[in-house]
Every structure is written in structure tokens, then in C-alpha cells.
């Protein structure tokens, strides 16, 4: 609010012409000051503008750098994905190799069993020793607890057990080689296997000599010499493994050959002794 005292008084202006001039000068000075302020502000704004002008290209450079970095990130991301894919491929290959290694190891172990069994079967020409070796293979390699090994007596058509393991030999009575499960195996020459070992436990401890759970014919080509009949496996033997079938196949052929060779050798030795006796008798 303007002080009433500051208001120029017409009387005074009329009275004092200098006062009017002073007033005008004062207004002029104020105008000048205002113009100066405007000019300063103008200058400041121009400086600021110039400053912003200088900064703008730097900002553009930053944008460019960011763009480059983003592209680099994208490239690295693609590279990372490629590496991840390669890593996954290598990992899968590793797993494959590990599985193959396990398979080969198993195969080696199976071959070891088969090699030892085969080696031992042909290591002797003694009939009893051959039977003992077959027993050891069936007992220790296959894991059978109750089994018998028998030969076919062709003339009366009988299956005659020669040795029994895990049960009394008397139980392993002579049975017909023309009927029943064993008869069927001896006739066809095809081995018989129970569907699963677990089912065997349900049968209990009763032994039916005519009903083995595994029956392997002992054959040389088409000639059936006898059979290995398994009635019970060891408790820890839960199922038949691949190697068991391999061993059964091996036993079917090699055990038969070993038995046949041993019998032939025993017979020839006996005949040789007889002939030698006759020669000694004639020459003496």
C-alpha cells in the first residue's frame, strides 16, 4: 500500500518544478534498473542455453554407448545360450558314455563268469570232477540252492539224477523222460524258465522232483544227454539276470560236451585197460 505521504502532490509539483524532474528521473532510473535486470536475465538464459547446447551431443554419445552395450549383451546372451546348449550336449554325451561304461563293465563281469565256467568245465576229463564243477557253477554263479543234474537213460526212457544239491539224493528218484515238464524239455531240447523267481517262494519248501522252476537240457547238437533241474534259488536271488540266461546257454552246450567227453574218456580208458589186460595175457 502506498504511503499517502509519497504521493506527489499537485500543489507541490506546481510549486516546485524540480520535484517533477526528480520524480521523472527516479522513474527513469527504475526503468534503467529493470532493463539491466532483464538484460542480465537474458544473458543468464543465453548462457544456460549454450550450456545445454554443449551437453546435448554428450547425451547422444551416451545413448550410442548404451545401444552398443545392449547389442553386446544380446550377443553375449546368444553366446551363453549356445554354450549352455553345447554344455547340455556334452553332459548328455557324458551320461551316455557313463551308461555305456556301466553296460560294458556288466558285460565284462558276465564274460568273466562265462569264461571261468567254460574254462573249468573243460579243465578235466574226470566224470565226477565235471559233475562237481557243474554243481559249483550252478550253486555259486547262478545262485541255486536246490537242484539236480541228471542224465537220460535212453533204453528204459528214464531221467536219472546223478547228483543232488540242497536235498536228499533219495528224493531225486528216477522219473520218466517222456512225460511231465522235464520230459517236455528233454523231448524238445528247449530250456524251461519260471516266469518270476518271486513266484517260487509261494511254493514253499516242498520239493516236487518233476516240477523244477528251471530246466536246462544238456545237449550236443540235437542229442539230449540229460538236464539240470533247479528247484529253489538262494534267498537273496530275487530274479534271473541276463548273465544267468547266458550261463544256462553255456551249461546247455558246454556242460553236455564236458560230460560226454568225460564219459567217453572213462569208457576208452576202461576199454584200453581191458585190451591191455588181454595183450598182457596173450604175451605172457
Amino acid at each position: 500500500m502506498t504511503d499517502p505521504k509519497d504521493k506527489p502532490r499537485p500543489v507541490d509539483r506546481a510549486e516546485d518544478p524540480l520535484a517533477a524532474r526528480r520524480e521523472f528521473l527516479q522513474i527513469f532510473k527504475r526503468g534503467a534498473e529493470f532493463s539491466e535486470e532483464l538484460m542480465k536475465e537474458n544473458e543468464r538464459l543465453r548462457y544456460r542455453l549454450a550450456e545445454l547446447e554443449v551437453r546435448r551431443p554428450a547425451s547422444e554419445r551416451d545413448d550410442h554407448l548404451v545401444k552398443e552395450l545392449l547389442e553386446k549383451i544380446q550377443r553375449l546372451e546368444i553366446e551363453r545360450q549356445e554354450l549352455a546348449q553345447r554344455f547340455a550336449r556334452v553332459e548328455a554325451e557324458n551320461k551316455d558314455f557313463a551308461n555305456r561304461y556301466v553296460e560294458i563293465e556288466n558285460e565284462n563281469n558276465n564274460l568273466l563268469n562265462i569264461y571261468v565256467a567254460s574254462y573249468q568245465l573243460h579243465s578235466t576229463l574226470d566224470f565226477q570232477q565235471v559233475l562237481q564243477i557243474i554243481t559249483e557253477i550252478v550253486l555259486n554263479f547262478v545262485g541255486a540252492e536246490k537242484f539236480c543234474i541228471g542224465l537220460v537213460d535212453e533204453k528204459p526212457g528214464e531221467f536219472r539224477p546223478l547228483m543232488a544239491e540242497g536235498f536228499s539224493r533219495e528224493l531225486a528218484a528216477t522219473i520218466s523222460s517222456n512225460s511231465g515238464l522235464i520230459g517236455k524239455v528233454l523231448q524238445s531240447g528247449e530250456p524251461y524258465f519260471v516266469d518270476t523267481v518271486d513266484n517260487v517262494e509261494k511254493r514253499g519248501d516242498e520239493l516236487d522232483i518233476a516240477a523244477p522252476i528251471v530246466c536246462i537240457p544238456l545237449k550236443i547238437k540235437d542229442r539230449i544227454l540229460g538236464a539240470i533241474c533247479i528247484y529253489k534259488f538262494l534267498t537273496q536271488k530275487r530274479q534271473l539276470a541276463h548273465v544267468d540266461y547266458e550261463l544256462f546257454t553255456l551249461l546247455a552246450g558246454h556242460a553236455a560236451t564236458a560230460i560226454f567227453s568225460a564219459k567217453l574218456y572213462t569208457e576208452s580208458k576202461r576199454k584200453l585197460n581191458t585190451i591191455q589186460g588181454l595183450i598182457d595175457l596173450v604175451t605172457s
Binding site: 564243477i133 555259486n140 540252492e145 538262494l234 534267498t235
Partner: protein, 125 residues
């Protein structure tokens, strides 16, 4: 490379050969065979063995007697002993472990079982 000596005691030639072939896959192991407990004791007198693998049912001297004798012998009392048993012979197994056997393998024997047990007892990689 350090060499270890193993003594395999088994009366069955078939089983013995299987165990020996399995152990031969360990390159640092040298294997000696014995047919029964008495044969094993003779061989133990002539050499220093790092591990003993024995069957239980054997003629002349069985595996249980062998474990007992070895554990009471000052030279071999610390030798790791592995026994081979059948599942049915649980009493034999417990008796052998009580006598001082370190581990057991049940029949039917598979080569990896033998190898892994021996590796574990000899602390082989």
C-alpha cells in the same frame, strides 16, 4: 605305485578262479591262492599280505578257524579279512564278524562285489 598282496582262500577251483580274475582287474594288487585254511597259514608265514579273502566251508581248516588263528597271530592280526558266505549261513557270518572279519560277500558272487569290497578295505581309489 604301491603294490598290495591279497591271499584268496577257497577250496573250489571255480570260485577261486573267479575271485582271482576279478581281483586281477585291480592293477596294484598281486594275488596268491590257497586251497584251504592250512594252506593259507603256510602262505601267510612266507609273506606279508595286505588282505585276506576266505570262504567259510573248506576241508582241513575252515574259514572261521582261519579267521580266529589270524586274529591271534601277532604278525597278521591287523590284516583286513573278507569272508564269503551264503545267505543261509547267517550264523557263520555273524560268528566270523565277531571273530574279527572286516566284511562279507554273499553268494552268488559277482566280480564288482569283490573288487569294491577289497578297494574299500585297502582304501584304493
Amino acid at each position: 605305485m604301491a603294490e598290495y598282496m591279497a591271499l584268496v582262500v577257497e577250496d573250489s577251483p571255480t570260485m577261486r578262479q573267479l575271485i582271482v580274475f576279478a581281483l586281477k582287474r585291480l592293477p596294484t594288487l598281486r594275488v596268491t591262492e590257497a586251497e584251504d585254511g592250512l594252506d593259507a597259514l603256510k602262505k601267510l608265514q612266507g609273506a606279508k599280505f595286505d588282505i585276506l579273502i576266505t570262504d567259510i566251508n573248506m576241508p582241513m581248516m575252515d574259514g572261521l578257524k582261519l579267521v580266529s588263528v589270524v586274529r591271534n597271530d601277532a604278525t597278521h592280526k591287523d590284516i583286513p579279512i573278507v569272508i564269503i558266505t551264503t545267505e543261509g549261513a547267517q550264523e557263520d557270518r555273524q560268528r566270523a564278524l565277531a571273530l574279527g572279519a572286516n566284511a562279507y560277500i554273499t553268494k552268488p558272487i559277482q566280480a564288482p562285489q569283490v573288487i569294491n569290497t577289497v578297494k574299500e578295505l585297502l582304501k584304493l581309489a
